[in-house]
Symmetry: C2
Subunit: 409 residues, 2 copies
């Protein structure tokens, strides 16, 4: 059974006309003889609208109830898309995450998929139906409705592709693929034909907004080939697959992320376990910490800085202040006016000097670096938020990405 999983984001199903377009696309694939499983997100700004309603009711809605609320967005889309496909004369059936058995842990608003049951989907595919599954949502072991966090529909799609052993997982979006930089910032940015899971992971982690990080991890772990492409054209987008199959680019792209904030706990007694107690507490609260820097001690005191998503800042600050009190630290400061600019490329491993070139590009433009973090295929710098566009353009140009991606064996 040749199965293709196709995922369409909220902008692809923003209104009833667009839903009909998606229905046509999906039906065409079915017509070619492929078995099709479709994953879709909520219509346009539905999720934002629901979140606003919740906050009108309560400044701190319980996360279990938020999930109950938000899961309706995708349920609406799948029902409407199913009707649109049926209207074209193809047979479709829609399912919620709970109905198909997308089983998750109980971490409401950011649940992780534990298991995907495919029996019900296979049964319907065998009847010739196009199966339409609500993205972004699942059901916990004690039968609570859960959601997977923003962009979670990508993960739903990849998890289904893995469980169904699908030929490919196509991610339809409003851009043509993955670019060397955000084209709204760098008009000369180039579309990448292929990229490795590792590079895509780093790009997603550092601000490329096209794919949810977790979906790429899932794809890598289960060897699912992803294809990110436009829902408005037939042209090929960007293939994401394992490293061995492709030539390596020295630099694949420059990414930016203005959605983080910096927390600094200062004047911390420098003894073993200080950092551990802080990050343990943050982790227990389900807060994802991105970059962590600990200064060289001055005497017996040190400072610990870290970045978190802005949506977690309030909670992170609260926890940090409690722990700072317990540790006898001086206090906590926060800074929301930061941005992270990153350079990603698998070829970086074997090409020394990349970091130096990047720092030079920033220095030449008078941009101050506040934090640095590196991996074998990525360099990230935290800079003032106001400089982010200038920084991306400067780095993109420095590495000649506007002239095309440089390959090496």
């Amino acid at each position: 059974m040749n199965i293709t999983v196709q995922k369409f984001g909220g902008s692809s199903v923003a209104d009833t006309e667009k839903i009909k377009n998606v229905a046509r696309r999906v039906s065409q694939t079915r017509k070619k003889g492929e078995y099709v499983v479709v994953v879709i997100s909520a219509l346009g700004d539905t999720t934002d609208r629901l979140v606003r309603l919740a906050y009108e009711i309560s400044p701190h809605p319980r996360e279990r109830e938020l999930d109950m609320l938000l899961a309706t967005g995708e349920q609406i889309s799948v029902a409407l898309l199913s009707m649109a496909v049926n209207e074209l004369g193809y047979d479709a059936i829609s399912f919620t995450g709970a109905q198909v058995g997308i089983v998750t842990d109980g971490a409401h608003t950011k649940a992780k998929i534990l298991d995907v049951k495919v029996g019900r989907i296979l049964e319907e595919l065998e009847k010739g139906k196009i199966v339409i599954v609500a993205g972004f949502q699942g059901v916990s072991l004690d039968d609570q409705i859960t959601t997977l966090g923003r962009g979670g529909s990508d993960t739903t799609a990849v998890a289904l592709a893995a469980a169904l052993k699908a030929d490919a997982c196509e991610i339809y979006t409003d851009v043509d693929g993955i670019f060397t930089a955000d084209p709204r910032i760098v008009p000369e940015a180039q579309k990448l034909d292929r990229i490795s899971y590792e590079e895509m992971l780093e790009m997603a982690a550092t601000g490329a907004r096209v794919l949810q990080l977790r979906s790429v991890e899932f794809a890598r772990n289960y060897g699912v080939v992803m294809h990110v492409r436009s829902s408005f054209s037939e042209s090929e987008g960007t293939w994401i697959e394992s490293d061995e199959r492709m030539e390596k680019a020295i630099i694949s792209g420059v990414t930016d992320d203005s959605g983080e904030a910096k927390v600094t706990v200062f004047d911390v007694p420098d003894r073993p376990g200080s950092a551990a107690s802080l990050f343990e507490a943050l982790s227990k609260a389900n807060i994802n910490v991105d970059m962590i820097i600990q200064n060289v001690s001055e005497g017996d005191r040190t400072a610990i800085s870290f970045t978190v998503g802005e949506e977690d800042l309030e909670k992170a600050q609260e926890i940090s202040e409690t722990i700072a009190g317990e540790l006898g630290a001086g206090g906590v400061t926060v800074d929301k006016d930061i941005a992270k600019v990153s350079l990603v490329g698998a070829g970086m491993r074997t090409h020394p000097g990349v970091a130096a070139d990047m720092f030079n590009a920033l220095a030449e433009n008078g941009i101050n670096i506040e934090m640095i973090s590196t991996s074998t295929i990525k360099i990230s710098c935290v800079i003032p938020a106001k400089d982010v566009n200038k920084a991306v353009s400067a780095i993109h140009k420095k590495f000649g990405l506007d002239k095309g991606v440089v390959m090496h064996a």
Copy 2:
């Protein structure tokens, strides 16, 4: 365990301010030590909005997908109400129909409740929580989402009250109770303090829009005491309970219904089985037929007329035409411009002359009667739609209902 079931309709939860009002009302009941189960409908016009979306996509959406779509309306309300109750410092938890186990048959868009599992509700009540259940929806034995038809939330509430052996099932609405006639048509209409299940059934069946017919049947069958009252005041509404407990009114009220249409199959060969084959076909299509009249035959031919809800007219006409062809009948005509006006009262059984008085009231006002149907406690007349308000006022006055309900032992 003293359990009260409280049901709030769509107009009681039309916006976030009204949801907060409901939360206050519910919390007050909990504060008095009662265990509270709340059933709510979709916010204001949500259901209508979703139906419009569906018809933008497809003129004939599949009923399974319609249920998938419409069930989201109540899911949104329960999540928001739960947040609002939590915000007041009380502990609440929301459930979909599927989650609590409102098990139904598979008749999408008008499913019937087969079973109500209360384990999960009792578990949460015992923890002191206010349990909030999505009305109008359930889950079929093969795990499809179903809905119970317009007004189905009343039935959800009564079914839960029965299964939980609740003290009472309070139906909160935007009117003060059950009236002797629609106060928008007859300003002198009087609120009834009590009414029997049987009378309420006839009133609901003949057009009183306050309660869904099925909920009253359910209440009667399981002996659930219902209390229909205003969500905007503290005053008592109308109690609905068994006949024995109360004095009997000769006439309880006049009802009207403009939502039906008349289908006539004319020139039908008058032989056994003709009517049976027609109504069997309609029943198989899940169409509720209300009144049925068969004319005295002229020679070997007759005419069969019946009324159905306007929403079923198209389907009913189609089926009637097929059957008319099979029977060799002359053809089918339909008339949407009709209304039904009815007189309901348990005392009617022992008071002859009620029918004659009603027909006189219509005749005195020059209103033509097209069909008549009676039961022991009800008389219904089909009249031209344009005369409905005049007819209700005339009958209401004829029986002196504007001066209060006449009781007898």
